[in-house]
């Protein structure tokens, strides 16, 4: 089962993402900020990261920088932001995100991207179970 780390300081958002991802059969771990996320990564790396931008202690950019600097298998990361500006997107790419989505992300869209970034074909068992 693919493991996804959802990093967001807002409980509602974490719940929202967890609901979507779990209903599609993914194993979801939560972290409330970058520091906690790095601790989770240290325990075991994930297959995909869903990263919020603004968080206390260590924000999404900081987390991605730290993550990408680690000598670990590097999994794709989706940055989810409320900002739609081109600069915000570029900053996300600079720090190590692989996809930049603007909130609110519709469940179907999110799943579609998650499947793509996890290499699951539309009809493969992996995608749908």
């Amino acid at each position: 089962m693919k493991r996804i780390l959802v990093i967001d300081d807002a409980a509602t958002v974490r719940l929202y993402h967890r609901g979507i991802l779990e209903s599609a059969g993914f194993e979801v771990t939560e972290a409330v900020n970058g520091i906690e996320a790095l601790e989770r990564v240290a325990e075991a790396p994930f297959d995909l990261y869903l990263v919020d931008v603004n968080m206390p202690k260590l924000d999404g950019y900081g987390f991605l920088r730290e993550l990408r600097a680690k000598d670990l298998p590097q999994a794709p990361a989706i940055m989810v932001s409320t900002e739609a500006g081109a600069n915000d997107q570029k900053l996300a790419y600079l720090t190590g995100a692989n996809l930049y989505l603007v909130k609110p992300v519709r469940p179907g869209r999110l799943l579609s991207h998650v499947h793509t970034l996890l290499g699951m074909t539309p009809s493969s068992e992996g995608r749908t179970s």
């Binding site: 600097a69 590097q74 793509t116």
Partner: protein
């Protein structure tokens, strides 16, 4: 209007134009696969774009059109005329919607729900075309298609979805496992889908009650068959529900339960295969939701690749570059795997190693560029709600925290859309500018041209009133400079306003095709000189008259194939529309090789209608008779067809052309055809007028209309049939006094030799003398049409400001007389 919608509308019109052109081209070359792909792409993109807004009617029709084009592109159904007709009609419908939306005030697109029935009808027509053709194609080539599974994708929205559409994604994992266990233990369950018809409430049905009667389901889902409209437009009496359930019951009982609505339910005994349908779907026909998923997947694929390309284009080298590159490689690898292109992943790893060694993304960038050259414009657009919405809704159900993100407000999409629009702008280095802005600039320049004319007056006053000759000279010198700049500006703005006649011509292939088709005629349209340019006003004024002329040609000029054959002509008629520039005029020639105009018939008709008397009937030359078609209220059509109609005749055409100082010339030979020549000025922004005086006032007359000015001795004026006339070089010229025409209460003033100033004007090849008090100089003016209350005064072509600040009224001889 909000910029995104604005962009969508203007882009949408371009798309429709291109789609129309491609469709017509495809008719000529039905096998051109590049054309077909292009057409599909256009329809697909337009549909995708429409999905960004809450425009269900438009999206519905476009979606059906897209499916149809998809089938054509794949060679599953042939491209032919009825199909093209259908698609063209669909595009016309979309154009209507776009126009309606563009005209509506406010930021959000207005509801187009009143077109819902049209949309439904069009959508169904397109779909039935697809089904019929697919069936007949199957029937025609039974050898080619294996019986069980023609690899044809079922249309989205078709309700014959097999239970395999009960995708395992929909079922909570624990329940699925539980069900499989209970099935193995010998339990029997049914899968049910119930889609009550929209009008069910009016038939005394109660779908919810029906479902409740079935007892507690093991699993149940209730969803809307389409996106909910905004609350204000919600029609609560339309049932759009879809029930799905897994029940501990038998198919027989369900059949009994739903016996009154058998066409609205589907059910099937639950089996392990259905529960693990994903693997089964591989071999069987692809299900509806698979289709949706694959569209989503492809779109995601494009989006992810585009993002990686952007990341690889970054030029910084931070300490975490390695990790970033690895993550990109991982994303690329996954993305290719997600669309079944695993085989292409080899080579990625070496590229990644090379990139890490050189601390540069270039090797990866090259790898990507080789495999995915340029993201396709159409692909980068979001799939619409019909294909993608299904999965959205399913997953949305258990997520209570989801904000109501209906397509139009999704910022994720708006950004992408905006970026795409920019990309398009960069390719042709042109700027799309609102016409209003150009008009404003043009008016301002016009005012400056007039304002600068005050300088010579000023110089004159400086010298004569204040006696400073030096200053007067300087003012004059400066005037020369300003004058030159003003003239150049004027020339520049004229260039900007120039438009090719193709703006008008481009609609003709379609128009001719449709009309010819309707009339059962075969017509070959030849167009030349589409790039000939003229001022925007001229081109715009040309549009309606030209359409009318072309319709006339098709309706009355060209004969049916049979009649042509009988007359020894080729079955296919020929209609040519040519444009060319000749000095400062644009000439447009519309010629057909049809039956021509019979002067005798015209004479007879004109006589019957009282347009000419018996004497004229005898006297009129053939050419004069033919020109009678321009007379008001003349129509030779034996039958009024729905094409040319009644009421709008050639007189309207002639007047429209005359309004922009154009002229029209008609030549026709019986049995050989008819040729109409329009001659129009290149530009009407600057008008050369002659200033005349009458009753102490100054008026302008367009020089185009002035043939000559003469002095006529009062003694040479005779009254014939109560009209004053004079002889001018052997020709009898009727005379009219300007004061009478303008209802000015004054006698025309003669000069000291008792001669009257006469302005000889030419109106429709006829000469006429207008008696004025005096003829003065000619000047260039910027003619502005009369606006507001004065707009209704037909006798005037407009007004202009003179250099001394006074207003000059310019009259229009044709209307005045």
């Amino acid at each position: 209007m909000n910029p995104l919608l604005d962009q969508f509308l203007s882009e949408g019109r371009d798309f429709l134009q291109s789609i129309g052109e491609r469709l017509l081209q495809l008719e000529e070359a039905p096998g051109d696969s590049a054309l077909m792909n292009e057409l599909f792409r256009l329809v697909h993109t337009l549909k995708g774009n429409s999905g960004l807004f809450d425009l269900p009617e438009m999206t519905r029709v476009l979606h059906a059109a897209e499916d149809l084009m998809d089938a054509v592109r794949d060679g599953r159904i042939p491209f032919d005329r009825p199909l093209a007709d259908c698609l063209l009609e669909a595009m016309d419908f979309v154009a209507t919607l776009i126009d309606e939306i563009a005209e509506a005030p406010g930021d959000a697109p207005p509801s187009t729900a009143h077109h819902a029935s049209d949309a439904l009808r069009l959508g169904e027509t397109l779909r039935s075309l697809l089904q019929d053709r697919a069936r007949s194609a199957d029937g025609a080539d039974p050898a080619e298609e294996e019986p069980p599974a023609p690899p044809e994708r079922p249309e989205a929205g078709a309700s014959d979805a097999r239970p395999s559409a009960l995708d395992p994604i929909d079922l909570p994992e624990p329940l699925r496992a539980d069900l499989i266990r209970r099935l193995e233990a010998g339990g029997s369950f049914c899968w049910l889908r119930y889609e009550p018809e929209e009008e069910c409430f009016f038939k005394g049905e109660d779908p919810v009650h029906q479902m409740l009667q079935l007892g507690d389901p093991l699993w149940c889902r209730l969803e809307s068959r389409e996106d909910w409209p905004p609350l204000a437009e919600l029609d609560a009496y339309r049932c759009l529900l879809r029930f799905e359930a897994i029940l501990d019951t038998t198919p027989e009982r369900l059949a009994e339960h739903f016996r009154y609505v058998p066409d609205q339910v589907r059910f099937e005994p639950l089996s392990q295969e259905i529960l693990t349908a994903a693997t089964a779907a591989e071999g069987g026909p692809a299900s509806t939701s698979d289709r949706a998923f694959s569209a989503e997947a492809e779109w995601s694929f494009d989006l992810v690749l585009e993002a990686q390309r952007e990341i690889l284009a970054l030029s910084d080298t931070p300490p975490w570059l390695d990790g970033r590159l690895r993550a990109v490689a991982a994303s690329l690898s996954a993305a290719f795997a997600s669309v079944g292109r695993e085989s292409e992943i080899e080579g990625l790893e070496p590229a990644l190693q090379a990139a890490i060694e050189t601390r540069s993304p270039t090797p990866l960038f090259a790898w990507l560029a080789a495999r995915h050259p340029q993201p396709h414009a159409g692909r980068a657009t979001a799939p619409d709600d019909d294909t993608g919405g299904g999965s959205d809704r399913i997953a949305a159900a258990p997520a209570p925290g989801e904000p109501t993100s209906i397509s139009s407000s999704d910022p994720e999409e708006s950004i992408r859309f905006g970026r795409r629009a920019e990309d398009q702008l960069t390719s042709p280095r042109t700027l799309k500018v609102d016409q209003v802005k150009i008009d404003r600039l043009m008016n301002l320049i016009g005012e400056m041209v007039v304002a600068k004319n005050a300088l010579p007056y000023l110089a004159g006053r400086a010298e004569e009133v204040f006696g400073v000759r030096e200053l007067a000279r300087e003012i004059k010198a400066q005037y020369g400079v300003i004058n030159r700049i003003a003239e150049e500006m004027q020339d520049a703005i004229m260039q900007v306003r120039m438009m090719p006649v193709s703006f008008v011509f481009q609609r003709f292939p379609r128009l001719v095709r449709d009309i010819a088709h309707k009339l059962g005629k075969e017509v070959r349209l030849v167009m030349e000189g589409e790039s000939t340019e003229a001022d925007k006003n001229i081109i715009e004024a040309l549009a309606d008259p030209l359409v009318h002329i072309v319709r006339n040609s098709l309706d009355h000029g060209l004969e049916t194939p049979e009649a042509r054959q009988a007359a020894g002509k080729p079955r296919e008629g020929r209609l040519s529309i040519l444009a060319r520039q000749e000095s400062d005029r644009v000439l447009i020639e519309i010629a057909d090789d049809g039956s021509g105009i019979d002067p005798d018939r015209i004479r007879r008709k004109a006589y019957e209608r009282g347009l000419i008397d018996e004497a004229e009937l005898e006297r009129l030359t053939d050419q004069e008779a033919i020109n009678l078609v321009f007379a008001a209220g003349f129509s030779t059509a034996e039958q009024v067809s729905d094409l040319s109609g009644r009421g709008v005749g050639m007189d309207v055409v002639r007047n429209a052309i005359a309004r922009v100082n154009g002229s029209i010339d008609l030549r026709s030979q019986v049995g050989r055809g008819t040729t109409l020549r329009l001659s129009l000025p290149l530009s009407m922004a600057v008008t050369n007028v002659m200033i005349v005086e009458s009753a102490g006032q100054r008026f302008g007359v367009p020089m185009d209309a002035v043939a000559e000015t003469v002095r006529v001795a009062r003694s040479d004026i005779r009254t014939i049939k109560r009209r004053r006339t004079t002889m001018l070089r052997g020709r009898l010229i009727p005379l009219l006094a300007l004061n009478d025409l303008l209802a000015l209460d004054a006698e025309q003033i003669a000069n000291d030799d008792d001669e009257l100033a006469v302005l000889v004007v030419r109106v429709d090849q006829e000469y006429l003398g207008i008696v004025v008090d005096d003829c003065r100089e000619t000047i260039d003016i910027i003619l502005k049409p009369l606006a507001g209350f004065l707009g209704g005064l037909t006798g005037y072509a407009g007004s202009a400001l003179l250099g001394d600040g006074s207003v000059l009224l310019v009259f229009n001889p044709r209307e005045l007389i």
